[in-house]
């Protein structure tokens, strides 16, 4: 019995093969087709972003209209979104109003969250050995302390053997860290190849169908 292949799968496999061949075969027609398909991808991704924004607005609008719990936050989100969109639409994204909103609201809020994260990480590191006292915890903690101390002079004083291009911090960052990172990158590359092949063969269909 012949198995029917959905149209979406055929499209995905065809487009993937064309784009993939464009990397290896320097054929003008393939290059043009690859470029056109990639530009379609950009357009679709932008539209998807717009659709996501509309969906976000719709979801929070329902919460507000349904008077659900914590709907006041949804109302704030809707007002903020509409206000920012109105500023960008009326004055442009590079206008002083738009940049003021970005510089004085978004950047401080997100930066404060990162500053809070620094305090939380410090507190967690303090209590880490109380929770879990073993060899790996000790190695992790020692490495973190070396990297922190080596990132900047201790109270303005550089410690020989720790700071500098040939110090312990640079050694850890360039040898074991790079070795581990390369292993991770190789794993990412292999996983990407496998995933790409599965998508090209239709085994994986993250797009549905």
């Amino acid at each position: 019995m012949r198995q029917k292949i959905p149209i979406s799968v055929s499209i995905v496999i065809g487009v993937g093969i064309i784009v993939l061949l464009g990397y290896f075969i320097k054929f003008p027609v393939l290059a043009v087709m690859q470029q056109i398909l990639l530009q379609w991808a950009l357009t679709l991704a932008a539209v998807a972003l717009l659709v996501g924004a509309i969906n976000l607005l719709n979801v929070h609008f329902r919460r507000v209209s349904g008077r659900q719990k914590n709907s006041s936050y949804s109302l704030i989100l809707i007002l903020s979104l509409l206000f920012t969109f109105a500023l960008g639409a009326l004055f442009g994204p590079k206008s002083a109003w738009s940049l003021w909103v970005f510089n004085h609201i978004q950047v401080p809020v997100e930066s404060s969250l990162m500053g809070l994260l620094a305090v939380v990480l410090a507190f967690a590191s303090v209590r880490m050995l109380r929770r879990q006292l073993n060899l790996f915890s000790l190695v992790f903690l020692a490495t973190a302390l070396v990297m922190l101390l080596g990132a900047a002079p201790v109270l303005g004083i550089e410690i020989p053997g720790l700071h500098g291009p040939d110090g312990l911090r640079a050694l850890i960052a360039q040898v074991p860290a790079v070795a581990g990172a390369r292993g991770i990158l190789i794993g990412i590359g292999l996983g990407t190849i496998a995933t790409g092949l599965r998508v090209l063969m239709g085994a994986d269909r993250p797009y549905g169908g």
Binding site: E110, A144, A181
Partner: protein, 677 residues
């Protein structure tokens, strides 16, 4: 303790049982008073209920055999006469005449040649008659009786009938004239085997008008005791019986349905006086009749040759079961009939199912465990109340202390503008980056990708500000692009920050262009790398970006002097390196990344050939870069705060780790000590 005979299977059962222990048939009827089934005999119980007159009626309706039974019960004289001649036959057994011997041989041959159908017919007819004669007679007794009477009847017609008909007893003459069953059977045999009829038997047929055959020997002895002359011919007319239903017009059976005035006044259950008298007399006469008949019959010894002659026994060695298994219905409209189906269906015999106690038989201990388990299950569904902790706990105090100390360590140097801590020395990758930017010509296009989130702006601004400042110093034309939605605004913010801190006056369109946001992730970057004009056509304000003089010759990203990527995420850096760098040919890529992305980006820098021409990581990288620059911007301002904050964080972590390690060890020892106790 009495016994009750089962009306279905006939087996005796204790009288206290309601259901037969063999066949589970009900022994005691559900309606009306109970009477043991084995006590009922034909003709009994006439005076028990109102249906007794129906019993007598049914006996008439049942045919002449039932009437014959009544005759037997009414006339005891005939019964007294019957034992005489079997006794004579028994006395003559010693000397069997020749003619009987010859007859025995002929009968034996005839029995061998008799068709099976006829044998079967004989067997079928036999049980029916024997069953009608009463259940008191057993099969063995009947066989004995047969053996006693068979040669007598054969011999008597041969010797006595030709000489004088008066010598034939009246009862036998009546039998010969009125026995319809024997006549029918003899007709059948005579038609099938006429040649084997003896001469003397043919003469007997002519003189007495009686068709005789060897089958006539099957006539029951009880029938011989009946006064056949008293019977009306129309009552025993076999043809009329076969053609018409059992109920005859001549019989008084219809009388009960035409009640006179006296009978109409009777209620159900009452019996007319005349009927009560008749029933009493008949019941009193019938019981001794059968007993006397049985007692008067003496078992005879049958010779071997005569034993072999008995076709019934050879064909049906087993006594008919109907006689024992079928009882006579004693009550209801079917009273007097034999072999009727039970009144109540089988389903009424079903007893109630055994009732089992629903309550579990468990012990107290098990019940306690079950209740405990149920309580635990119920508790699972109930949210446990959260105990309100102390508002100021040691952990909260510790958090506040850490926050305050870090805030002071970071904020105070920035607030006072301290620059006491020396900047780090530029590393190899920082120097390499600085050299690359030093080679940028005035108005040479440099693609500056600002791909970091606003939350990382503190670190990334400090890391990248010196490089942007360096580019501005070199007079490069900056093309700002981003793969994150907030990137374009972040790029504007970076340019404005560098302008403000370094004293530049980079203007839009003339000295830099903001391409905006490139969607699509890796695919978008690849497309942008291959054909930037196809992906980006207008700037952030809607102006055509490619019309600027520095960008006029740009067809691919390889046409830019340098590609500078500022990002806080290693994934974004990897995408830029993997998707864009292969298309750059001789154009170098410089990465300014956060400290967290350094481990994953450094392999691209350390690798051969280098995929990344320059690398600046975090605030330390920016500070080192500024250390090589003639002026300080953001990294310098942050460096003291960064140094003090990191030192304080390390002190906190180290002290807290030592304290908590000791506390944990002591706690373990404490628990171990308690366990040992």
């Amino acid at each position: 303790m009495g016994e009750i005979r089962c009306p279905m299977c006939g087996k005796p059962n204790p009288d206290e049982l309601d259901v037969c222990q063999y066949c589970e048939a009900r022994l005691k009827p559900l309606i009306g008073p109970f009477e043991p089934a084995d006590t009922h005999e034909p003709g009994e119980g006439k005076g028990d209920s109102v249906t007794d007159w129906l019993d007598s009626l049914r006996e008439h309706e049942g045919g002449e055999l039932f009437e014959a039974e009544e005759e037997i019960s009414e006339g005891e004289e005939g019964a007294d006469e019957s034992p005489e001649w079997p006794a004579e036959v028994a006395s003559e057994e010693a000397g069997i005449p020749d003619w009987l011997a010859g007859l025995g041989k002929s009968l034996q041959e005839e029995g061998e040649t008799l068709p099976e159908a006829e044998v079967g017919a004989e067997q079928d007819a036999g049980p029916f008659r024997m069953g009608d004669l009463g259940e008191a007679e057993k099969a063995g007794e009947e066989q004995d009786f047969w053996t006693a009477i068979a040669p007598q009847e054969e011999s008597e017609p041969a010797e006595q009938l030709p000489s004088s008909g008066e010598e034939i007893p009246d009862w036998l003459q009546g039998f010969g004239e009125s026995e319809p069953a024997a006549q029918v059977e003899s007709d059948q045999v005579a038609q099938t085997e006429p040649g084997e009829v003896p001469d003397w038997l043919a003469e007997l047929e002519e003189t007495a008008g009686l068709e005789t055959s060897t089958d006539a020997l099957e006539v029951e002895p009880e029938l011989e005791e009946i006064d056949w002359e008293a019977l009306q011919p129309d009552q025993v007319d076999l043809e009329a019986e076969q053609e018409s239903p059992p109920v005859s017009e001549d019989l008084p059976a219809a009388a009960p349905f035409t009640l006179d005035e006296e009978e109409a006044g009777l209620e159900i259950g009452e019996m007319p006086e005349w009927l009560a008298e008749v029933s009493e007399e008949s019941s009193a006469e019938e019981a001794p009749l059968l007993e006397e008949v049985d007692a008067s019959l003496t078992p005879a010894e049958l010779p071997g040759w005569l034993e072999a002659m008995r076709p019934v026994e050879t064909a049906a060695p087993v006594a008919p079961f109907i006689e024992e298994s079928e009882g006579i219905e004693s009550r209801g409209p079917l009273a007097g009939l034999r072999g009727v189906l039970p009144i109540e269906p089988e389903i009424t015999h079903l007893e109630k199912p055994t009732a089992y106690a629903i309550k579990l038989q468990i012990s107290d201990n098990e019940r306690e465990h079950a209740s405990l388990f149920e309580e635990l299950v119920l508790k699972e569904g109930v949210p446990a109340p959260v105990e309100k902790g102390i508002a100021i706990s040691p952990q909260n105090i510790l958090r506040v202390v850490i926050f305050l100390l870090l805030f002071l360590a970071v904020g105070w140097p920035i607030y006072i503008g301290s620059q006491s801590v020396d900047l780090p020395l530029p590393s190899r990758e920082v120097n390499q980056t600085s050299q690359l930017i030093d080679s940028v010509m005035v108005s040479e296009p440099v693609l500056l990708a600002v791909d970091y989130e606003p939350g990382f702006s503190g670190e990334m601004d400090a890391a990248s500000a010196s490089i942007v400042d360096h580019l501005m110093i070199r007079g490069a034309y900056l093309a700002l692009v981003s793969t994150t939605p907030t990137g374009p605004a972040q790029a504007e913010r970076l340019i404005k920050t560098v302008n403000n801190t370094a004293g530049h006056a980079y203007l839009d369109a003339s000295q830099y262009a903001n391409f905006g946001y490139v969607s699509g992730g890796p695919a978008g970057l690849l497309s942008f790398a291959q054909a930037p004009r196809g992906v980006i056509r207008y700037g952030l304000n809607g102006e055509p970006v490619w019309e600027a003089a520095p960008l006029a010759d740009i067809q691919t990203l390889a046409d830019f002097a340098y590609i500078v990527v500022i990002t806080d995420r290693p994934e974004t850096a990897r995408v830029w390196i993997e998707q864009v760098q292969p298309t750059l040919r001789d154009t170098e890529m410089i990465l300014v990344v956060s400290a967290q992305a350094e481990p994953l980006v450094r392999p691209y820098y350390e690798g051969l050939p280098q995929q990344v021409g320059g690398l600046v990581t975090g605030v330390a990288g920016g500070a080192a870069y500024e250390n090589g620059m003639p002026r300080t911007i953001l990294a310098r301002k942050y460096w003291d705060a960064f140094s003090y904050g990191l030192t304080l964080a390390v002190i906190f972590i180290l002290a807290g780790s030592i304290f908590n390690t000791l506390a944990g060890i002591l706690a373990k020892r404490k628990y171990t000590f308690k366990d040992q106790k």
